[in-house]
Symmetry: C2
Subunit: 111 residues, 2 copies
């Protein structure tokens, strides 16, 4: 068993040049013994964004705080606190913080 | 892609006689096309609890709101908003709402 407050997990800067103002906390990962999926918490500054890309694995997302826009297959879809988003593998997506505050969301992926 | 506010997902009463005051929302599940894991949101009334049990699959939990106590292998461990909990398969656990308010947490499991 592992218990930790997510704020105690190191926030690592995402260095991808196609992203901006993004930090990631790997709260539960393979090294913890997680056999199937990892739990990460993202933090995006105002105006920040993740890369617009696709990959073969899925995302399961929970918007913890703030609001933003999902660019999905060239469509803009607003989201806000409490929204749950499932992005199957192979679909293009980008998370944008379109607000003036911080955006935080959980994003789970297979290990 | 699926997007839905978790409050729009039907809160189903958990009928297990070893639990009390528990509702579950299946926000992302196998029927949505999730290939690896499901995202559920639990709601426990003040004084509510989940069964004290173990099973072969793991839990990955994020405490969304409120506070409570984890009974884990006969030890009592307090938790609060923002805590992340990983319970590997085979370990006995129970989530208790030891507060006067509502407790909400996300709990992901393999499908």
């Amino acid at each position: 068993m592992k218990i930790i407050n997510y704020k105690k997990v190191k926030a690592e800067k995402v260095d991808d040049p196609q992203s901006k103002g993004v930090k990631i906390r790997w709260a539960i990962k393979k090294d913890d013994g997680a056999p199937n999926f990892a739990l990460r918490v993202f933090e995006l500054k105002a105006g920040g964004y993740t890369p617009y890309h696709s990959h073969k694995w899925e995302h399961e997302v929970f918007i913890k705080k703030g609001k933003g826009t999902l660019l999905w297959e060239d469509k803009k879809i607003p989201f806000r606190e409490g929204d749950v988003i499932f992005i199957p593998g192979g679909e293009k997506h980008q998370f944008r913080n379109s607000s003036r505050g911080v955006l935080e969301f959980l994003c789970m992926i297979p290990v």
